[in-house]
């Protein structure tokens, strides 16, 4: 008998005799006191919570706004020191920031299949987000997406470009959505604040192993 059979047989033989009916799922909004209810609340609650966990938040009204904010954030950093998701909007922003023509970047700078050693020298990772979560101020990353996993775990700064419409109220909405998604992602990461530790004397230190800074440039408004 394999261990699999042994374990399953033992469990079957000794399971509780009383039959249990599945518990009814309790929706987040009846459980949590800080569940945001309206679209306007989504935005304010997200902003409060995201900054409370150490995120840096910039609102942008237009594409030019985004370019200005990103230019300030990457000043002094060469385009070759970035790891960025080959998303058309991100490429357009970076082309503007680094003054390339026609919203295009030279092909060699957009290679996310570089080896770990090269990746480790990247100074900023730039990506889109899958969703933003208001109640906890979290940014959700899901792969397969063109960004992969290393982009949001290896570089010391993670810069996210997203839109206010991507804000959802709480984790219940996220997992309900993902449960029905086909194909499923290979990984889903809910990021709440920048990497941290308080393992030494309970003192909070940011940037334990993951990014020290998580920066979100969030588009609001109609155009673009």
């Amino acid at each position: 008998m394999t261990s699999r059979d042994t374990i399953l047989t033992r469990l079957r033989q000794s399971r509780p005799s009383t039959d249990v009916t599945p518990p009814l799922p309790i929706p987040d909004h009846t459980l949590f006191a800080d569940y945001p209810r309206t679209a306007a609340e989504h935005i304010t609650v997200f902003a409060d919570k995201f900054t409370a966990v150490g995120g840096e938040l910039f609102w942008a009204q237009s594409t030019e706004n985004v370019v200005d904010i990103v230019r300030a954030l990457v000043s002094g950093i060469a385009v070759s020191e970035l790891a960025f998701e080959p998303d058309p909007a991100i490429i357009a922003v970076l082309a503007a920031v680094y003054s390339y023509d026609d919203a295009k970047l030279p092909p060699e700078v957009a290679d996310l299949s570089m080896c770990n050693v090269e990746y480790a020298s990247c100074r900023v990772g730039i990506s889109t987000a899958y969703r933003l979560i208001a109640r906890s101020g979290s940014i959700v990353m899901a792969a397969p997406a063109r960004h992969g996993r290393r982009l949001y775990s290896v570089p010391p700064v993670h810069l996210v470009l997203a839109r206010a419409e991507q804000i959802i109220p709480s984790l219940d909405a996220l997992f309900a959505e993902v449960s029905n998604a086909r194909p499923l992602p290979s990984i889903l990461t809910v990021i709440t604040g920048s990497s941290r530790t308080s393992d030494i004397e309970k003192k909070l230190v940011l940037g334990a192993h993951g990014p020290k800074r998580i920066v979100l440039v969030c588009r609001v408004g109609e155009d673009g």
Partner: protein, 459 residues
């Protein structure tokens, strides 16, 4: 020395160690304030969240074999390998089997109590495979050659100066007492390991049956880094960690963060659905999930103790326990310390020697009150005590003593005689029998309560 005697020695020593207690007190009071705040600001009623979580976990335990099969089928369909380990040796062998394919390349490990339980690092060390603990607290404990002090904060007993000394010795840093500089030194050192590692080993906080997914919670980003950079991701997880639905995480993630560290959510909650899929630009080529029993099915078979398998290892019961706070983590000498450790250790392999831990409790119930999944911890300690007594009874001595006790206590008149006899013999017996012990039985009152009542004519 047997574990019982060792425990008495180490616990007495630790109970007199003021510096150690100050460290624990400082750590626990920061924690307690944050938890209290998070519970009240976040939940309409914390107890509703706890009851819902307890119900989901009980359901999962009732359906455990089916849920495990469902998990296996779903995650295998996306290319993961699932292995079943009946005991610690089998779990270690599965890991060695995978790791040895990448001879010589380092292994990075994230914090996982299960890997401590099966002594995975010991096995890798013995096979000559370099393995690095990547969680900062575990890394410190690894360098010090010690065992974790606490299931959530393993290096709680180390001061910045202690850490500095270790890092000066092992990493060659300049002396510093600044936690930020020490953390940065560990980050730099560990980066090299992440980049080189062929295999990343993590635990799992939950596995989800419907989606076939593994949920990993952490603050530092070390588990995520190893899942992003390694060729293989190995997950070691106890069979009791299964939840029926992916959507259950919307309750369990905040619950764990709140009880574990007073956060709304832990910094990184990663849900892994499989190895690298078509369209992924990186991620491990293979994902191996090892489902470990190692005594859990024995615990499961015991109707009275089974609910201990609901545990989500948040550490709240340790932090609230007056015994843990007095004697600290090392005196227990077990993988799992504190109330939950005292409850489950006697039922794990080789656990019969650890029944004494169930008596290391005042049964105050602080653990039960703090548990986010409603485990009746202090009553389970009583259950353990009764199991231990009935085991000892097998040799008859305890039974005889208990029979004598019952003889006197079952009749008012005999109790009166007993008291008279005891009073006259007490001095003699105590002097001889208890001479060497530190404890003396309490001396009976000179006058029985009933006599006093009659004399004072109270009615």
């Amino acid at each position: 020395m047997n574990p019982d005697a060792t425990f008495m020695r180490d616990a007495s020593r630790a109970a007199g160690d003021r510096t150690q207690q100050d460290k624990i007190r400082r750590a626990v009071s920061t924690y307690a304030a944050k938890v209290q705040h998070m519970k009240s600001s976040q939940f309409v009623k914390w107890s509703d969240g706890r009851d819902a979580a307890a119900a989901i976990k009980s359901f999962a335990l009732a359906r455990l074999p089916e849920l495990l099969e469902q998990f296996e089928a779903a995650i295998t369909a996306r290319g993961a390998e699932v292995r079943w380990a009946a005991d610690a040796a089998e779990a270690r062998n599965y890991v060695l089997d995978v790791v040895q394919r990448y001879h010589g390349r380092p292994v990075v490990k994230s914090k996982s109590m299960l890997t401590e339980e099966v002594d995975l690092r010991g096995a890798l060390d013995a096979a000559g495979i370099p393995v690095w603990e990547s969680d900062l607290g575990e890394f410190i404990v690894q360098l010090a050659g010690e065992k974790p002090y606490h299931i959530v904060t393993p290096a709680m007993h180390k001061t910045a100066a202690d850490v500095s000394a270790l890092f000066q010795q092992h990493l060659g840093i300049e002396p510093t007492d600044d936690p930020a500089e020490l953390t940065a030194a560990a980050r730099t050192f560990m980066r090299g390991k992440f980049v080189d590692a062929a295999v990343g080993i993590t635990g799992a906080n939950f596995i989800l049956a419907d989606a076939g997914a593994v949920s990993v919670t952490e603050n530092e980003g070390n588990a995520l880094l190893s899942m992003a950079c390694s060729n293989v991701h190995i997950v070691l997880v106890g069979i009791e960690k299964v939840l029926p639905l992916l959507t259950d995480l919307s309750l369990f993630l905040p619950l764990l963060a709140t009880s574990g560290s007073g956060q709304q959510l832990t910094c990184y909650n990663s849900v892994i659905f499989g190895p690298r899929q078509p369209g992924d630009v990186d991620g491990p080529d293979s994902l191996v999930v090892i489902l470990v029993d190692n005594g859990r099915s024995t615990l499961y078979a015991n109707d009275l103790i089974r609910e201990a398998l609901r545990c989500i290892r948040c550490g709240a019961c340790l932090n609230s326990c007056p015994v843990y706070r007095t004697i600290g983590g090392h005196a227990y000498n077990t993988t799992y310390q504190g109330p939950i450790g005292s409850v489950i250790t006697p039922h794990l392999p080789g656990g019969k020697e650890w029944a004494h831990l169930s008596s290391a409790s005042s049964l105050c119930g602080a653990c039960t009150a703090s548990c986010p999944v409603g485990i009746d911890l202090h009553h389970l300690l009583v259950v353990n005590r009764s199991i231990a007594v009935s085991r000892k009874n097998a040799d008859g001595r305890v039974a005889q003593l208990m029979n004598i006790w019952a003889y006197f206590f079952s009749s008012r008149r005999r109790l009166q005689w007993g008291r008279t006899i005891w009073l006259s013999l007490e001095r003699l017996v105590s002097g001889v029998v208890f001479r060497k012990g530190r404890y003396r039985p309490p001396r009976p009152a000179r006058k029985a309560f009933s006599e006093w009542w009659q004399e004072n004519d109270i009615s």
